[in-house]
Amino acid sequence: MPKLTIEELEKLRERAKKATFLRETTDYRAKITVHMGTCGIAAGAREIMNAFLQELQARDITDVLLTNSGCAGLCSREPMATIEIKGQAPVKYVDLTPEKVKQIFEKHVLGGEIVQDYALGIGSEKTDY
């Protein structure tokens, strides 16, 4: 059997590390929840989900969970997303566009600074599921 080089071992270690990505629900530093009720979908929530995904992929980020939820009852402010940095209170953003997503991702998800211009408030909400 050929000997493994240090570089190859390093790659294997990296791969094993990534393979355990988000295996545990607590194993992430931030969680992004896009509201995907009928109102959200009609207002463009799928595009918002895709915009967050583009940011994750472009930066090869593997420890941020991107998921979705139902309607939170504020249909007129859709598309909406909730950003939750581990250990901090969730922040709800409203009237989103892909451009706003870019700013929120850079400042809040990566930098930890809430984008107050687009934020509705801090705290969890009840959704359909």
């Binding site: 979908i41 009609a42 991107l66 139902g70």
Partner: protein, 177 residues
Amino acid sequence: MEDLSLHILDVAENSLAAKATRVIIRLEEDTQAKTLRLVIEDNGQGMDKETLKRAVDPFFTTKQTRRVGLGLSLLAQAAHATGGQFSLESKPGWGTKVTATFKTDHWDLKPLGDISQTLLTLILGHPEVELIFIHRRDNQEAIFSTEKVKAELNGWLLNSPQAIPLIMDHINKAMNL
């Protein structure tokens, strides 16, 4: 809703809210009969007779967060607008089956939209759910299944960014018959 792919996302999200562990989406094009049949079935909690009767009423919802339930009524309207049909079957403990048939030569047929983005959004939001997409055009058929993708992922999770190119590749194969 601008296109049919958004209706599919919306109805499938209902399935997931109803705690389905498997969702099957069928898109069947019949070029001779000029029809497009959309079927979304799940193994979720299902509806009792009373709920089923009112499910297409836009002013009825089981949700606590608002007082309207537009999803199914909008899909029914989109099908009826083309001269097509809409039906709903459901039983508690059995699941729900939504069928919408569209006339493809009608002016009011909505565009299909981006099915790939709809499927990807469903997978990312609910990686634990088995999602099957069956695309049929006349006698040709292609099947996308998250279980098939998982088998090729070598331990990567479905919602990891690294899995997305493979998921998209499988979806595109199912879309391009």
